[in-house]
């Protein structure tokens, strides 16, 4: 289990019990090729100590970064994909799922949970790109929807961390409708005025961007993250030209007005804490009573 070997792909492979990274494991930055201790890298929120490249990480790492003492309660832990279409391409879908589950130790492409962040109750849904490209099928849609429902019921701020190639083809129409379903739930959350932060990480594209990822009260992103509707390859083929430098990066989206801010992963917890502290419902300024009753 050496991380060093896996770095060609730039995807950090966490192991089950990764909290204490022993000495002697090394990580090489995919960007500047700097070699550092894995422990150093993880202590730096999995960003390069030299060039600040944000490595692709998964739900396990984000939960560890955000929740106090990595204490959280996972929601719908056992939910996994069915095969409503009996889909088969070069491989049968159930086999693909099983293979992905075995390889990743994950049930599907999102994990959801609640806990405290610097003492503030929060609900977090975090996508895992390692699971079939973070694609959204029924499980992702349902788990996100239930996490939204939970945040709404408890009136706890919601954070969704997106990292996805888009909707999952193997569930076709079902996947498409997850865009609708999650948007419906967010419309209700919006109505009840519970804060929702959408954090877009590298990469966030397709049906995920075109639904919950772009519907935050606050749309934020990690530096350098690729964010778009169509993937860069498709856009390039469409226009028949090379894409401009920095096209579809977080910085590009910020410049075009689609992000509130870009946040360094090392500052994520503090920034969100500050934001939710400011937004906290105070006794004096509670919502009008009538409104509140309606929302519960």
């Amino acid at each position: 289990m050496t991380w060093f070997k896996r770095t060609e792909k730039g995807i950090v492979t966490p192991t089950e019990e990764k909290k204490e990274v022993p000495d002697g494991l090394w990580y090489q930055c995919t960007e500047c090729k700097k070699v550092m201790q894995s422990r150093e890298h993880s202590a730096n929120a999995y960003t390069c100590i030299d060039c600040n490249n944000h490595a692709r990480i998964g739900s396990m790492e984000y939960f560890e970064i955000l929740f106090d003492d990595n204490n959280f309660t996972e929601l719908d832990e056992t939910m996994s994909s069915s095969d409503p279409l009996e889909f088969s391409d070069t491989q049968a879908y159930p086999d693909r799922i099983k293979g992905s589950q075995k390889k990743s130790g994950l049930k599907d492409a999102v994990r959801t949970g609640y806990g405290k962040m610097n003492g503030i109750h929060i609900v977090v849904a975090c996508m895992d790109f390692r699971f079939i490209g973070g694609s959204m099928g029924s499980v992702v849609g349902e788990k996100i929807s239930r996490a939204i429902d939970y945040a709404r019921k408890k009136r706890h701020p919601l954070l969704i961390i997106s990292k996805s190639g888009g909707a999952r083809m193997m569930e076709a129409g079902f996947s498409l409708m997850q865009m609708a379903k999650t948007s419906a739930k967010l419309a209700l959350l919006d109505q009840d005025r519970v804060p929702y932060v959408s954090l877009m990480t590298d990469p966030t594209t397709g049906g995920v961007t075109a639904s919950y990822a772009m519907l935050g009260d606050f749309n934020i992103a990690e530096p350098g993250a690729l964010i778009g509707f169509a993937g860069p390859r498709v856009v390039r083929e469409t226009i028949g030209k090379d894409l401009p430098e920095g096209f579809q990066t977080a910085e590009f989206l910020l410049e075009h007005g689609f992000l509130d801010f870009i946040v360094d992963r090392k500052e994520l917890k503090k920034t969100l804490t500050d934001l939710f502290t400011i937004l906290k419902e105070t006794k004096e300024a509670k919502q009008p009573k009538k409104e509140k009753e309606k929302s519960e």
């Binding site: 996994s80 609708a180 948007s183 419906a184 772009m214 519907l215 169509a230």
Partner: protein, 315 residues
């Protein structure tokens, strides 16, 4: 124009024309032969069109003679005032709409618009809207809500346009916003897939109290061609991809991902556009009546519940 699988029909029809012409020129009685050939054609049509593969339905959904949004509007609306622009960037000609009167009922009609010849196709960007198209649609929906008029949307797109400017102007944000906003519209919303229903570009105007598909249309997360290129790494597996995606009206209804199917005439909507429009008009008027029985809040609740129930998983 004939599609590849319609060739046997076309051949017989050509034969029939020849036969009639020959008979006229030579003044011979071929009545019996004509009758038998006509019967043969009828049977063949029935056989072919009632055993369509999924890919063949995709082909029909893209038939160049197929009625488009503005064709339906021209047929069913007694009055129509087209509205333009998103009030921000431009008027997206791949998305059309406006207030109309149908059988005495004021409505807002909105839809993707394809073009019929090369010039028109370019003008309409092949029915692929940019963000301003989705924002234009939402602006018109809000107008409809303001003046308490039901909304009908016609879905017919090979996808939202994946271009550079669309990305710059927030294609994803525009679609996402529509999804969310459409759930909260206080007026009845009826959506009808009249041709192609490709992915987010289709869904962006397809959140409704009742979602219909014409019989020979498709609706899915990706086109069979793109699916083939991604999963099979080749463009040659579109038929298999269409089968795998289960993207027809019958599939989508079976999975409860749409509400109802509107039958087409044998051979497709283009073989009898007026008849098709008549049917569509009746569906619209009947459905408005039905939805008017509910309060706005009931409609919103049911709309949300319906879409929230979509998905299959194990716990």
């Amino acid at each position: 124009m004939h599609l590849d699988f319609e060739k046997p029909i076309a051949e017989l029809e050509a034969k029939l024309v020849d036969m009639k012409q020959l008979a006229q020129e030579n003044n011979v009685d071929v009545e019996e032969a004509v009758k038998s050939l006509e019967a043969k054609i009828k049977n063949l049509k029935k056989e072919i069109y009632s055993n369509l593969t999924r890919w063949q339905r995709v082909q029909l959904s893209r038939h160049p003679d197929r009625p488009y949004t503005l064709d339906y509007i021209a047929d069913i609306a007694d009055k129509f005032i087209e509205l333009h622009g998103d009030r921000g960037v431009k008027d997206d000609k791949a998305m059309v709409g406006g207030f109309a009167e149908i059988g005495g009922q004021g409505v807002m009609l909105i839809g993707h618009q394809k073009g019929r010849n090369t010039k028109q196709r370019q003008l309409r960007n092949f029915g692929m809207a940019n963000p301003e198209g989705y924002r234009k649609a939402l602006r018109m929906m809000k107008l409809a809500e303001k003046f308490n008029k039901p909304i009908v949307t016609f879905i017919d797109t090979p996808g939202a346009f994946p271009g550079l400017e669309g990305e710059e102007r927030g294609q994803a944000e525009a679609i996402a916003r529509n999804l969310k906003e459409m759930f909260m519209l206080k007026v009845p919303v009826i959506c009808i897939v009249i041709g192609e229903g490709a992915s987010g570009g289709a869904l962006g105007i397809a959140i409704g109290d009742k979602v219909f598909m014409l019989e020979n249309t498709w609706y899915s997360v990706i086109s069979p061609e793109s699916c083939s290129s991604i999963l099979w790494r080749s463009w040659d597996y579109k038929e298999q991809a269409a089968e795998a995606l289960k993207l027809t009206a019958y599939d989508m209804q079976k999975f409860k991902l749409i509400d109802e199917i509107i039958k087409e005439p044998l051979g497709g909507a283009h073989t009898d556009p007026q008849g098709m429009s008549k049917k569509v008009k009746k569906v619209i008027l009947d459905t408005i009546k039905e939805l008017n029985q509910l309060t706005p809040q009931e409609r919103i609740n049911q709309r949300i519940e319906k879409f929230s129930a979509m998905g299959v998983f194990v716990e």
